[in-house]
């Protein structure tokens, strides 16, 4: 963020129009600190003049970093909630719980994976639930028209791929702001779902298949589908954390200019991300259809905000450049567990969304409190210090 104008003149022309919303600019609370200055541990700020440049790595390293980081805290919190629920909530500690909890959480979990990558790269995708709805509608109509189920599934995944590619072209190659574009495609894809299936519902999917989607692995209560979900989780975690492409996404989220200079193909990376969200959303749509054995145009509507809430709760920064798959998993499961435990405990379902919202706000406000306190103390010291 030091001198974007200097970088502008020499950027390749292809990236021309897409640079307006620089990273820190997205929806920032005005007056929030620049990325370079926020949340630096204490010793870095001695004199008021030296706020930006000195970036000595003063953070935790090694095991401490793993055990005390944001992700770890989320996982501890999840464990605490699970233990607490097991003790306090009757009937919570049983395989039935595991089964239903996971079945409920799978759509969010699936879409949260590519969404994590998208938000880390500094973009957003609001159209995911509409893509799932479109897939669901398509599935119903194709199946009713007598298409073999295998072909139906293939076409549905391809439809998701195409929908994702549409988003991707507009955002990555035309450089349009992703928030605005995906609000548009949110309406468009949901509208197409309506066009495809109208207000009909298709329910007569092959019983074998729908039974498979609600079946459990032996007596453990873990849904069979989880095997596939775990494979996807591992795949996304590996891509994000252990490949050059994944490291590039973090760089992209921090600064698009810098990422371009170190040789990351910004447009292509973003395009691939939107392909991934489209495809995985289609999988979630298929899952949704078969789990509830009902294909309707309004399936999964409103899921986009739930997914984003879970991802942000999982420690992904809305500005990009920060986040991890384990943290997001913990975030998704935390919301799922709390909701399920409260439901079992007969807390009325309507209070649940208050919990979700409060958690989300708390998760972003809480980390800023120590920084704010430190800044206030620092400001007081500066003011009281003699001018010399």
């Amino acid at each position: 963020m030091s001198d974007p104008t200097g970088a502008r003149t020499i950027l390749p022309a292809g990236d021309g129009p897409s640079r307006t919303p620089a990273k820190g600019a997205r929806m920032a609370a005005p007056g929030s600190t620049r990325p370079g200055t926020e949340r630096r541990p204490g010793p870095g700020r001695r004199s008021p003049g030296s706020t930006t440049t000195q970036a000595a790595p003063t953070g935790r390293t090694g095991a401490a970093r793993l055990l005390l980081g944001r992700d770890a805290v989320m996982i501890y919190l999840l464990l605490v909630v699970v233990f607490y629920a097991c003790i306090v909530v009757p009937r919570f500690a049983s395989p039935v719980t595991v089964g239903f909890l996971l079945l409920d959480v799978i759509p969010t979990l699936l879409i949260a994976l590519p969404m994590t990558l998208v938000i880390i790269s500094g973009e957003i995708d609001l159209s995911v639930a509409s893509i799932a709805g479109l897939t669901s509608a398509l599935m119903g109509v194709l199946w009713q028209a007598g298409t073999p189920i295998a072909l139906v599934l293939v076409i549905c995944v391809l439809a998701g791929l195409v929908a994702g590619a549409f988003n991707g072209v507009l955002i990555a190659y035309l450089g349009l702001p992703s928030l605005a574009v995906t609000i548009g495609t949110l309406a468009l894809f949901r509208g197409l779902a309506l066009v495809v299936i109208g207000d009909n519902a298709v329910a007569n999917f092959p019983p074998g298949l729908t039974a498979f989607f609600t079946s459990k692995l032996g007596g453990t209560g873990i849904p069979t589908v989880m095997v596939g979900v775990v494979v996807l989780i591992v795949a996304f975690a590996v891509v994000l954390h252990f490949t050059p492409f994944g490291r590039g996404l973090f760089a992209l989220g921090y600064s698009k200019e810098a990422a371009t200079f170190v040789g990351i193909d910004v447009a292509q990376s973003k395009f691939l991300l939107y392909l991934a969200t489209g495809t995985v959303s289609a999988l979630a749509g298929i899952y949704w259809t078969l789990r509830y054995s009902s294909a309707r145009s309004d399936n999964a509507s409103g899921l986009e905000l739930a997914v984003i809430a879970a991802v942000l709760l999982g420690g992904v920064s809305i500005f990009g450049g920060k986040g991890s798959i384990p943290g997001v998993l913990a975030g998704v499961l935390l919301i799922g567990t709390i909701n399920y435990a409260l439901k079992l405990d007969r807390v009325s379902e309507v209070v649940l969304i208050i919990v979700t919202g409060s958690l989300l706000i708390l998760s972003v406000v809480a980390p800023t409190i120590p920084t704010a306190l430190r800044r206030a103390r620092h400001a007081r010291r500066v003011r009281s210090a003699p001018l010399s």
């Binding site: 007056g31 309406a187 509208g191 969304i353 972003v364």
Partner: protein, 347 residues
């Protein structure tokens, strides 16, 4: 988007000849959406003359009223480079609150109910604004959280209860039936709101400050603009307007309950975007946003009048939003190029 031609013009007034009125009209950001609205209405009226009958116009305006007010409020927030996703929930809470006030105290003067509702909305908006400005966290995250919290409170408060129009005084319900000069009363309220806020944004110091904040928050701060206070103001006004919209909702629609206004937030943002408000702040007008809202709601009626399959409506709305985004980008690119050329000449 911060390179908007209008925001750049005052920098070097001597270098440019004063643009002709026609030229500045053609460059108007709202022009595409006005054109789209005119073409839409003209085509529909040509095919189906009933569309522009007195009743038809009244329905159009009534349908647009609530979205217009919400879009105006949202525009203030978006111009400061923030966003408020909680407006649908605020509207729901206030609408249900209005219903309960009338049940609890049927003889309360209507004007007082309006004041209570607007104040309630303003308080909810202030919650958003304070969280965002004090904790310095992104508005998207905070208002996504309050979207859920306000909705949850609404659920907990209402439960299965719904208040129906019969439980409200006739005079209140008549606000959305009676017309003055052919305009429904609640639409006139909306028009007054649009006019007042438009003047405020154009001609007052705090209004201009909002644009400055959205163009470049850091520069605005260095310039001495009280950024946090102005952003808080935008959120409070937006909350108050969402509250007003909630009251009008209670007047216009038969029932208010736990789910009133669900999912409205993205429609509102869409209306603002269609009306030429740049999603990253710094440019756009409330008049544009209001026309955007009018266009979005008119499309629904127009498609019905044109006997287009009703299932196509939402898809067309989506295409419209995308078109607005593309047009905005093209206009921005043109303005940026002009600015570069002007700067090069000025060296």
């Amino acid at each position: 988007m911060s390179l908007d031609s209008r925001s750049a013009a005052p920098v070097q007034p001597a270098a440019h000849p004063k643009p002709s009125p026609l030229g500045s009209f053609l460059k108007l950001r709202e022009l595409p959406v006005i054109l789209a609205l005119v073409v839409l209405v003209a085509v529909t009226a040509a095919v189906n003359p009933l569309f522009l009958s007195q009743q038809g116009i009244k329905d159009l305006l009534l349908n647009a009223t609530i979205l217009m007010i919400l879009a105006v409020g949202q525009t203030l927030v978006i111009i400061t480079r923030n966003i408020d996703l909680s407006v649908g929930s605020i509207l729901g809470l206030v609408a249900f609150g209005t219903g309960s006030v009338f049940v609890a105290a049927p003889e309360l003067p209507i004007i007082l109910v309006f004041l209570i509702g607007i104040a309630f909305g303003a308080v909810l908006g202030a919650v958003n604004g304070l969280l965002i400005t004090i904790a310095k966290v992104p508005a998207l995250v905070i208002t996504l959280g309050t979207l859920y919290i306000f909705r949850g409170i609404n659920n907990a408060w209402a439960g299965g209860t719904q208040y129906f129009a019969g439980e409200r005084p006739d005079a209140f319900g008549n606000l959305s039936v009676d017309t003055v000069l052919g305009f429904p009363v609640i639409t006139l309220i909306a028009v007054v709101v649009v006019a007042v806020v438009a003047v405020y944004m154009l001609g007052t110091r705090p209004g201009r400050d909002l644009y400055a904040i959205g163009s470049e928050p850091e520069a605005a701060k260095l310039f001495g603009i009280p950024v946090a206070r102005r952003v808080l103001l935008a959120f409070v006004v937006n909350g108050a307007l969402a509250g007003l919209a909630g009251i009008l909702y209670a007047s216009r629609f038969n029932s208010v309950g736990a789910t009133t206004g669900t999912g409205l937030e993205l429609d509102v943002v869409a209306a603002a975007v269609v009306g030429g408000v740049a999603i990253f702040g710094g440019s756009g007008t409330v008049v544009g946003a209001a026309i955007g809202a009018l266009l979005l709601t008119t499309i629904t009626s127009a498609l019905t009048a044109l006997r287009v399959d009703k299932f196509w409506q939402q898809a067309i709305v989506g295409i419209l939003i995308l078109a607005a985004v593309v047009i905005d980008r093209l206009a921005g690119a043109r303005a940026a190029r002009k600015l570069r050329i002007a700067e090069a000449r000025n060296v």
